[in-house]
């Protein structure tokens, strides 16, 4: 890592594959450096014991977590909450976005609310959600739905305004009814903002739901994370965080890929 300057021109003595694939070589080098540093730190005992557990124990914890049937029970709960939150928040965001983006008046009257509420920390609504929907999955779903609503609504409202006006005129000239206009013109014309909104929405939905689980629950991955904290089981906490990040980044990439499945991009 210290020789990044030189890495732009790989040393002559490097094996040929390294010269041909310098990016891959650098990536591998970074990964190896980080992992070695981690392991050395873990064995040196400089930090409090177990704050940086050895790679082996993290690996073992990951294996134990993934082979534990109760983990999948918690995973199912979390998936169920996130799924329902995405449906509720996404659909209401879509509807509100279409309404607000569809008229200048609605936009000027109501979009500022969305725009300024959007970046507020949503987790502070959790105490209220507990009162409304109880301590069970209901309040977590509500948290996820609130979080996901804003990016979807804002993106859809923006997308509505950017629809090519001539396409709307085409629809009208063929006498499409309102439902046909929404399903055959508005929605497909807004596919990119919708997908982008869903992607941002999923990110914050995940955060909203899981944070709520860490605050107050007895089920779900968030609960497992906070349990590993109270039990001071650091390897398990690391393994859970790894699983979470893999899921989050994977889902993000998957939705992004969905947006890529579009021939218009071949232009």
């Amino acid at each position: 890592m210290a020789e990044t300057g030189r890495l732009t021109a790989p040393a002559a003595y490097a094996p040929s594959w390294m010269r041909e694939h310098p990016v891959t070589a650098l990536r591998i080098a970074i990964i190896i450096t980080v992992l070695t540093g981690w392991e050395l730190l873990a064995r040196s005992g400089w930090l409090y014991r177990d704050v940086v557990p050895s790679l082996l124990s993290i690996g073992r914890a990951l294996y134990e977590t993934l082979s534990d049937p109760t983990f999948y029970l918690h995973l199912t709960t979390t998936f169920y909450e996130i799924g329902l939150a995405m449906v509720i928040g996404g659909l209401s965001g879509l509807a509100v976005g279409i309404l607000i983006g569809g008229s200048k008046l609605m936009q000027h009257a109501y979009e500022p609310f969305l725009y300024y509420l959007g970046p507020c920390p949503k987790i502070i609504f959790f105490p209220v959600m507990i009162m409304w929907f109880g301590v069970g999955p209901g309040s977590k779903i509500a948290m996820g739905a609130i979080s996901c609503f804003f990016p979807v609504a804002l993106n859809v409202a923006g997308g509505m305004r950017e629809i090519d006006k001539v396409l709307i005129r085409v629809g009208r000239s063929f006498r499409a009814n309102t439902w046909q206009m929404v399903t055959k013109i508005y929605m497909p014309a807004m596919r990119h903002p919708i997908i982008n909104g869903m992607r941002l929405g999923l990110g914050v939905c995940l955060i909203g739901t899981l944070l709520a689980e860490t605050k107050l629950s007895n089920r779900g991955i968030g609960f497992l994370v906070i349990q590993s904290y109270t039990l001071f089981n650091m390897p398990q906490m690391y393994s859970l965080l790894i699983v979470l990040f893999v899921i989050a980044i994977g889902a993000n990439a998957l939705i992004g890929r969905l947006g890529g499945l579009d021939t218009i991009r071949r232009t």
């Binding site: 970046p119 987790i123 105490p127």
Partner: protein, 257 residues
Amino acid sequence: MSKPAPLTKSRYFPAILGLGSFAAFVLVVEFLVYADVLNRFIVPPPSEVLAAFPRVIMQEHVLSRFVLTASEALAASVLVTIFGIAGGVLLYQFNLLRLATETWVAAVAAAPLVLMYPLYLVIFGRNATTIVMMGFTAGLAPIILKTLEGLVGTRRVLINVGKSFNLTRSQQFWKILFPAALPTIFVGMRLGLIFALINIVGVEYLINFGGLGQLINELAERFDLAGTYAAICFVILVSIIVFMLTERLERWLRPAG
């Protein structure tokens, strides 16, 4: 115009409509609570929430809490700005490093980093450091990406102008690249500040430590319903004001064109 323009044509009509419907909504809630349609132990009447404002502000040391949260956010923002811009410049200067890690940084920016707060609790303890570090972690990746975007987006012709004047490498950076990238970097700084603030208030609430976030947690645990709602409204108000101010600041700092 000979006859007065109707209200619906007025420039302020949309704003009046928006605020008016908000006021109407509040009044309807108030009415529904008094009509016992809404349970007042779940939804306190808005008038009580309003009445709770001065009480919460006077008795719960809102001012010192606000200062605490604000200084945490400031500390996190300074860290985010220094390390974020440095990171972006580093990735720009070493193209190979950029090719190898840009997708990683983007993935980190999309990852739910705030879920690491229990880990930070273990590492830094239940104190302000955890909160500041959490804000720093959350805000770092966006500003790296924005700095990089700004530098990469510098118009080719400006770079050629620099070359035509035989600028040294450092002159080229400070006189051409950095000023050209500055508007985008400001966007990144604002994003970083907002991310940091969201996560700081959130973590304060979650770990029940520190400023405004903790206030909500305490009032909720005391079952002070009107107080909880009032505190939430206060935090929303603060974040809206911060959001607006940074927006102004960004527009003011951005060089014309």
